[in-house]
Symmetry: C2
Subunit: 444 residues, 2 copies
Amino acid sequence: MSSVPIAAEQDPGTTVTLLEPDGGSGLVRRTVLPGGLRVVTENIPGGRSAAFGISAATGSRDEDSAHAGSAHFLEHLLFKGTRTRSALEISALLDGVGADHNAYTTKEHTCYYAKVLDRDLPLAVDVVGDMVANSVLDEGEVETERGVILEEIAMYEDEPADLVDDVFAEHFFGDTPLGRPILGTTDSIGALARDRIAEQYRDAYVPSELIVTAAGSLEHDKVVEQVQAMFADQLAAAGEARPSRPRGPGEPVRTYGGTVVQPRETEQAHIILGSEGLTRADPRWHALRLLSAALGGGMSSRLFQEVREKRGLAYAVQAYHTAYADTGTFQIYAGCLPEKADEVIGVCRDELAKVAASGITSEELSRAKGQIQGAMVLGSEGTSARMGRLLSHELTRPRHSSIDEDLARYDAVTRDDVAAAAAELLARPRALAVIGPYEADREF
Amino acid sequence: MSSVPIAAEQDPGTTVTLLEPDGGSGLVRRTVLPGGLRVVTENIPGGRSAAFGISAATGSRDEDSAHAGSAHFLEHLLFKGTRTRSALEISALLDGVGADHNAYTTKEHTCYYAKVLDRDLPLAVDVVGDMVANSVLDEGEVETERGVILEEIAMYEDEPADLVDDVFAEHFFGDTPLGRPILGTTDSIGALARDRIAEQYRDAYVPSELIVTAAGSLEHDKVVEQVQAMFADQLAAAGEARPSRPRGPGEPVRTYGGTVVQPRETEQAHIILGSEGLTRADPRWHALRLLSAALGGGMSSRLFQEVREKRGLAYAVQAYHTAYADTGTFQIYAGCLPEKADEVIGVCRDELAKVAASGITSEELSRAKGQIQGAMVLGSEGTSARMGRLLSHELTRPRHSSIDEDLARYDAVTRDDVAAAAAELLARPRALAVIGPYEADREF
């Protein structure tokens, strides 16, 4: 299996088997079309659903400051009409078969998807493919959608538990693409010209940057054939192009410690305490996931026990890790009444120090493994989750792995591995972001 | 099939088949144990997961004003320790197998659940059963958890898009159990005594009020045997008791029209426009679901098209219906910049008037059917959703129906049925609730 190439090294016009149907996964195949578009499918016999998606390897970190939010704006516009379909026709076709359909933009990619009954997969390919291949980006629709995105920004501002993630990132990564909100700002969205968005569509939605993924009871060749027909013009124009390589680590990413407070008359203080984590390719990734689960991944985790169960100081407290191509963040979120914030932050800091010094117990490690592995197997029953796995492998990993291989990677992690990861990662400089009814210079 | 009794009329000590394994459902069986506890399972061969739940037929509408929030408080306390397990032991056992476990309280029932790998079903029955059967409601834990619930209330206050639901209900149903928030208020939670909560546990968590449901690759008899052993003491004490009847319609429910504004410095106005809907048993229920989908159930719905796609006035706009035993609410939610609220409300009112006058088109009806039916089949792949179906049938319907029967009920609805439902329901007096930066007496 190790001889299977990554997409960028696979000869155009060929199909390879990435995983044989065992190890918890179905038959996974990838075709690279001449012109560089890749189609990756997993055949999961027996189910009634199929999940289909098209992703572009572009996200908010590809934007400069003046155009912040353009990848996400473009995502909205792709729903607004193609050369042959209006916005209503697009949504009516998908709604009419009960599709679970939508799109999302991250800092590093954008994805359009539909989960449907397997008999409706050709329809999903047709409609989602049309949106991505043939959008018209109508001038009038740009203006209408500008209003919708300004509403989305305002909606997000009214969700401080989520917003504090952006406040943290803006402080931690500074005035850089990674530090800016995916939605953009009211200023950048107000000023974005249609031509700039159209340019991004032309440059970033080319075959070499697109990844088609599908999972369910399906035939690979049929999906490939349909996709090839839909993107015929783009593939012809792309000529000899091959799929792009996964986004790699570039320059070291600068991060900033210290505290940022966003004063706001909220009922709770919304707190993120975070530090630099690991890139996606880091070999310590599985150890960090286990560490994160033991610290703040469930009701039995240390932070939940110490902050909520023993002291009743918060309803929500959790730890999580976000990985990028060249960096990552390890964060704790807690929400509590403003007068309890100092105590909550103190308890969190204490627990981080303890784990940095002594790692976690054998019992905690075994529980964290059971938790992550059980959730992985439970999650793998759905075709949407399986499609997400395909995409994640293509975007970030040198090769695809089966579910059983991933389970084994967690099995292999030792207490020493976790202790070593904890000792290094939890001792890194931390930043603190707080939204709450405080002065901006309040110290915690 | 129509000769199958409801649980309250099934002889204790017997097992009946509720559905044969066809029509999209698995084999569904119900055992009524001597003492009145019922166990309903659906065997779904081939999957790897099982979902298990225990529900009590008690919720916030069973509380008086002074004790608002006690059903939900009790739900929290059941995680805090049994005669043989601490809170940490409970959560560690479930986390350790990757269980998706939690609980929720509604206005009419409370449910504790765990979704696990099928090999772990006996563990889930053991732990969730122990929580419900043997809670100690420790005095110290009551005090700690009081803090957690006050945090939960504060957290909810910081989510105005959700909170406006409570503001609406409080106005629409007035100072009655249905009008009060499930979480209670800071006053009621601050004052709730342990004894009052313990009394509710003693009275409402008796075998006749409990419903055990499980779905997945399982053996009915084994689940029954384990549940019977866990609740042996309670069953013995219950003697001749039979399962309670589903909550039925009582006195007509009084509702209030007009407008309520909760002044708050939010970025968006959060708006609910609503009127009385249907009880759960109403024969027009399927027509109303279709009407709701056509009006505001997807991107192709009228409200989404008129408010967002054509005018760019909101990010989120949707219609939905909530049914109770004796009443229901039909609501539209929209979030928009405060200066656009009048226009958004105006467009919503216009669309309601149009649909009340002319119903929906054949195309809209056909799309709404496809949407609901497709989503129903897609959703039925998961064991949690299947367990939810079992519970919903036991709580609210005279008999269980297969997925195919439910699909056929939607097929049978005509344009005239929808038009008749729209003409009556959408002409009922409406109430309007708004959270936003306005004066309390602002008119819309």
